[in-house]
Every structure is written in C-alpha cells, then in structure tokens.
Symmetry: C2
Subunit: 393 residues, 2 copies
C-alpha cells in the first residue's frame, strides 16, 4: 500500500494501549525497527529477501505502543542507513512536504516525510551520524538524537556498535517532550550556559546563519549570552575523518559478512561507502578509535558544568532534488563536520525548526551533556523556539 | 642613543604645546613619520642613506604636538612596513615587555615596545594590514587602526595607496580616547548591536577564545547578546588572498621604483614579499581590486545599521622569539585572515587587552563602520574592557 509522499514501506495499524500519555497519537517506525510479523527491510530489497519476519517488536516500538501511540506502518530508510540525503535507489525518495523541490534527508527519510506530511504524529528513527537531525532540519521538524545508550536498541537492525541511537521527529515541541517522557531515563545536569562552537558555525552558509539568528536571540534572552568556543583544535576536518573511518569500520563489522555473502545491488554512493568500509584496516580503525576517545573526553568535559552547545543543524537548507552528485558530496562533507561531534561523543542533540532559506527549512540545534535529552527539549520550549516554522503546530 | 628595549631609532625631545588635552604626555613616532630635521628611515638603512632630513613634521605628529604631547623620539619599524612580527634584520627586534620571550609584533614594533615598557604614553604608528592592531594584541596594549582617510597621511612614508592608515597604541583606554579626541573628525552611527563573525573566531586557537571570553561577556552585558554572522561566503582564504595581492601591487607602485634603483639589502621575508610584489601583473591586480570592491560594499552594508563586529585580534598570543620561519609564516597566514577585513573595507578597528595565554597577552577587537573610531573606544570603556591586562593602567 503506497502513500502520496512515499513515506511508507507498508501501512498497517497496530493499536497502542488504550490509555497512556500518547493515547490517540500515531507513529511510523523506520524500517530498521522490528515489528512482529513483518520483515525488517533496512531499505534494501536483498536484505528484505534474505530475512524472515520479526518475531517481536523492537523495544522502542514497544515503549511507544505501551504509552498509547498507535503504529501506522513502517517507513522508508536510506539503504542500510548509510546515507544522509533520503534518496533510495530501490524505493524512491520520500517527499519533503516542507519544500517538495528538496530532498527530505535521511536515513530516517520516511519517518520525516510521514510526519512532515501530517500522516503520523511521531516518526521513529535512528541517528548514527545525523539521520534524525538532518531530516528534521530539512523538513522543518523537531528531531532528537538521544544520548547513546539511553534508549535500548533491542530489535533495531544494527549499523554500528557504538554510534547508533534511537531518535524521533515531531511537528510540535510539546509532543517532542511527551515522547521523551514516555522513554524516560536518567536526567543530566541543569543547563546554565550556552556555548557557541564557532568552528561549526563557520561551516554554515551566511543565509542559514542569518535565518536562525532570531531563534538564537530568543535563547540568549532566556538563558543569557553565548560564550564562543572552538571545539576542534585539530580542525573539524580531523573529527569528520575520525568519524568517517570509525563509522565505516563498525558498519563493516555489523554488515560486512552479509554483504560479502549476498553481494546486494546497492544504489549510488551506498556501494562506494561499503567498499570503502571493507577496506578500512584494523590499524587505521584502532588509531581513529583512540582519537575518538580523546574527542569524546574533550567534549564531555566541555559540557560537564551544565553547558549546552547551540549550533546550526545543517550548513544550509536541504539540497534540491536536481543537485548533482558532486554537490551532494560537498554538502555531505560539510554537514558531517557539523553533525559528527554528537556522534563521536554519544551526546544528545535536538534540532528545532528555526526559519527558512529560499523556501527550505533550517534547524537550530541544542547539543547537551549525556542524559540531558529532556532538559534540552525543555530549554527549547521555555525559550519559545520552533514557532512559525513551516511544519510546526 | 639606545634604550633598554630597543624601541627607538633615535631619542630626542620635541616639546608639545604648553596647554592642550595631551599636555604632559609623551609619544614616540614610528620611523615612517616625518619629523623636521630628521631623516625618515622606514626601517631600512638604505632608505635612510638615500633620503635627506624631512623639512616639516607629518600632519599626525603635528596634531599630537599641538594637543600638548611631547615627542620623545622616533621608533623602529619593520622594514618598509612589510611585516607583522616586529623583527628587523638591521636594527634588531624591539622587546615585548609584556612577555619578553615573545616578538612584539609589527610593523609598528618600536612604538608598541616603547609604550609597553612605559617609555612613552602614546605610540604613533601606521596600520595597513594589522601593524597597529597586532602589536597591540601582542604587547597587551590598546591599539586603534583609524578609518581609512580619517587621519591625513601627509608626511608619512607611503606603503600602499588605499590601505595605509594612521593608528596609535596606549596602555590605558582613557588615554586612547583622549588621543582620538585630539584627532577629531566625523562620528559614525550609534552602536546598537554586536555581530560575532564566526569565520574569524574559528581561526583563533581555543585557548585564545577562552581567554577573551570574559571581555566578550562584559560587552554582551553592556550592549546585549551577540548575533553570529559569516563574513566571507567565499571563505576568508579568498579575502586574505585579495588583500595580499592588492597590498603587494600597491606596495610596488609606492616603492618599486626606489627598490629597483637601489637594490637594498632586505631581511628574511621582506625580500621575498617585495619580489612577489614586483611580479603581480596588472590583470591580476585589477581582478583582485574588483573583488575588493565587492568585499568592501558587503562589509560596509553589514555594519550600516549601527553594528560592530567583535572578534579576537590575533589567532593566539605573539609567537616566541625562537619560532621557526615556517611557524611564523603559518601564524601570519591565519592572522592576515583575521586582520584583512578592516583593511579591505577601510574600517576602524580597536584592539583592547583581554587576557593572556601562556603568559602572552591577547586582544579583543571591535571593528566598526566608517567614522566609528571614537564610538568603539567609548563602547570599550563603557563596557569596562581592558581591566587587569598586563600593561593596562
């Protein structure tokens, strides 16, 4: 069964609990989450063909059902989650309802498209390198990448061992907070200070920086002026490369055996990335993984005393559907430099709709200390962020 | 006659007017300023040898004398002003009293050294690409580069046609303001808003950004939170290159004939830069000069509605005297990317002592619209900047 915006792999109804904080809400689950009786397809037809139906529900799906939300179907993913743009060579590109000339972002593309089109209230996704945050920014949605390890990944198709997180997308900040409540978990330190990572801001286009200015001003009115910091003394290029190598090595650990056995037909970009992943040697992985530990310790100590980083989620609005592969690669490189800190350090990051550039939404992000997931949402709500965004409400 | 910190080319006394706002103050004049009866040496022995004593005083010298300040001598300059570090192969490197392990910065090296050592109250200098601002930051001083054209250059050895400005250094903000009053001139628009150019901040070392944080916080308390902007959508590397080519071409227009005729013996770096300057062709100059016009228009319109840019003056504290030529070149490249906007657009920039890193001072800059020279000084004073800096008072 298809839908107007090509958000769903399949639509069906799995009723949530009759009572609960999310009763009456609907959600779509990215096709990386197990749903009992349905094959978890992972965005690749060969994966679907070689796997049988799941026996149970992923824990995160179960949490939403128990909280009263009704599952409305499974949503498209970029192939095996290894992309950020939302194009899938086998299943097409879900529509970005906020600006249909543009890609929706990925890899949680279908969940973002379904929420942006109003087909469901909540889009369940995963975020390894930006797969919830970037589609949130592109589609004018609220999107949370949770603290690594805070939401169990049981029943989720594994992409990497130490970067994968559960996340979700909503049209309103109030619902974003309600979903976070349903997932519960520990809370982090109180937020007392805004840090502005100038090296990340310098990656964004001037028009994007201008568009999110008013949201930043509201935040500063609420919490006081920002303190500028340079995140990466070695340069964000270095961090991006550490992320790229570690992600690739871990992805090959998770998926290499199956890929080698089945030689699936991958779409453009995905094929090249898995070939690169297969070629990462153990020594290079170990070296980059050590570098990652240093970055993680640095970022966590920076955020320790109740600080959050405020930053543009994306360098620019979503690329146009007609963008060349070269343009997309350039965009991806810059985007990864802005998105990799949360991944490297396992930190929660919330993207809030903050304006538009040439009709395309752009998001402002709050990146918090471990466990601060609910506090960053509360801060965004208290500061009045997210108003007037294209898909807000 | 020598001095302990090698600041002076020659010391003498030329009494200022008995009454006047600067009566009782002393100043040193960079050896680019004419003083009647003295040869203007320009930091190069061959220049001194081939020029006779000046017949009159430079206009800026005259202004200070008329305001009551007494001239205490002529101070060292980097060779023909074509350097930023303060080393002079012929006359040695003036001492940076704020941290004697480090270079003083140039090309207004002697004026900065004399003020930092307390030998004079005011150091008269010139700033084409940072020659007042950088020594101010390095030596823990207040330093102003004036709006291009605001202070006449009559009687100043010309380095470039459209970048040279008069500037001065002081230990205290109050005296900085008094000198600006003495020079007078038009006033710019009222300052209402702080812009934070993230691409410039991203050039600074993390420790430098951290050190100037408290000064920025004071500014924000006073004027309200900053608004981030990206200055150079083409990248600051592009701006630096435009500056470098135009400065070189104009320097050759001013000095090429004399250099060709006298083949002076230049120190390291200076020689290479003048060779590069000689090789800039007319077409390249014209092209970069057109690019410069675009940058100028962009920056001026950004500052139009009463905004000032707040930025680190330098990427880091002054390099150590023992730094390698390669390290110095790397430093210069980054510094030029941070310093070139004011030069390209003819804008006033005030550097205020804002802290130290590893014992070396670092400055925070306010970069204003044309004519805002006195307003940026007033803003710094009103916000309480410059306290507790090593040489303040």
């Amino acid at each position: 069964m298809q839908d107007d915006v090509n958000a769903f792999v399949e639509r069906f109804t799995l009723e949530g609990a009759a009572t609960g904080p999310l009763a009456g809400r609907t959600f779509g689950a990215k096709d990386l989450f197990d749903v009992a009786g349905h094959v978890t397809g992972g965005g690749n037809p060969e994966w679907a063909r070689t796997h049988s139906a799941a026996e149970g529900n992923a824990r995160a799906v179960e949490t939403l059902l128990e909280a009263g939300a009704t599952l409305a179907g499974k949503t498209h993913s970029d192939e095996l989650a290894y992309s950020l743009m939302g194009a899938n060579a086998h299943y097409g590109t879900p529509r970005n309802s906020a600006d249909p000339r543009r890609v929706p972002g990925g890899s949680s593309s279908g969940s973002a498209a379904a929420v942006a089109a109003g087909l469901v209230d909540i889009g369940l996704g995963t975020d390894t390198g930006g797969s919830v945050r970037l589609p949130a920014s592109f589609c004018g949605l609220w999107g949370l990448r949770t603290t690594f390890g805070a939401v169990p990944l049981d029943g989720v198709l594994p992409f990497t061992r130490s970067y994968d997180t559960v996340g979700w997308l909503t049209r309103s900040g109030a619902l974003m907070a309600e979903v976070a409540e349903a997932f519960g978990g520990a809370e982090g330190p109180e937020i007392r200070r805004l840090l502005l990572p100038v090296d990340i801001w310098a990656r964004a286009e001037p028009a994007c920086v201008a568009a999110i200015g008013p949201s930043l001003a509201r935040l500063q009115e609420h919490l006081g002026p920002v303190t500028p910091v340079v995140l990466a003394s070695q340069g964000l290029e270095t961090w991006r490369e550490v992320f790229r190598i570690c992600q690739a090595a871990e992805a090959w650990q998770c998926l290499g055996e199956w890929i080698s056995a089945h030689q699936p037909n991958f779409g453009p970009g995905i094929k090249e990335r898995f070939e690169m992943a297969a070629a990462v040697d153990a020594e290079s992985f170990a070296e980059n993984d050590r570098a990652r530990e240093g970055i993680r310790a640095h970022l966590r100590s920076l955020l320790e005393p109740g600080s959050v980083l405020v930053l543009p989620t994306s360098p620019a609005p979503a690329p146009l559907l007609t963008a060349s592969e070269a343009d997309l690669n350039g965009f991806r490189t810059r985007a990864l430099e802005m998105l990799c800190p949360a991944g490297l350090a396992g930190l929660p990051q919330l993207s809030v709709p903050a304006g538009t550039v040439d009709g395309g939404p752009v998001g402002l992000s709050l990146l918090g200390a471990p466990g601060q997931d609910r506090q960053v949402i509360a801060l965004a709500l208290d500061a009045g962020l997210g108003d007037g965004a294209p898909s807000a409400g």
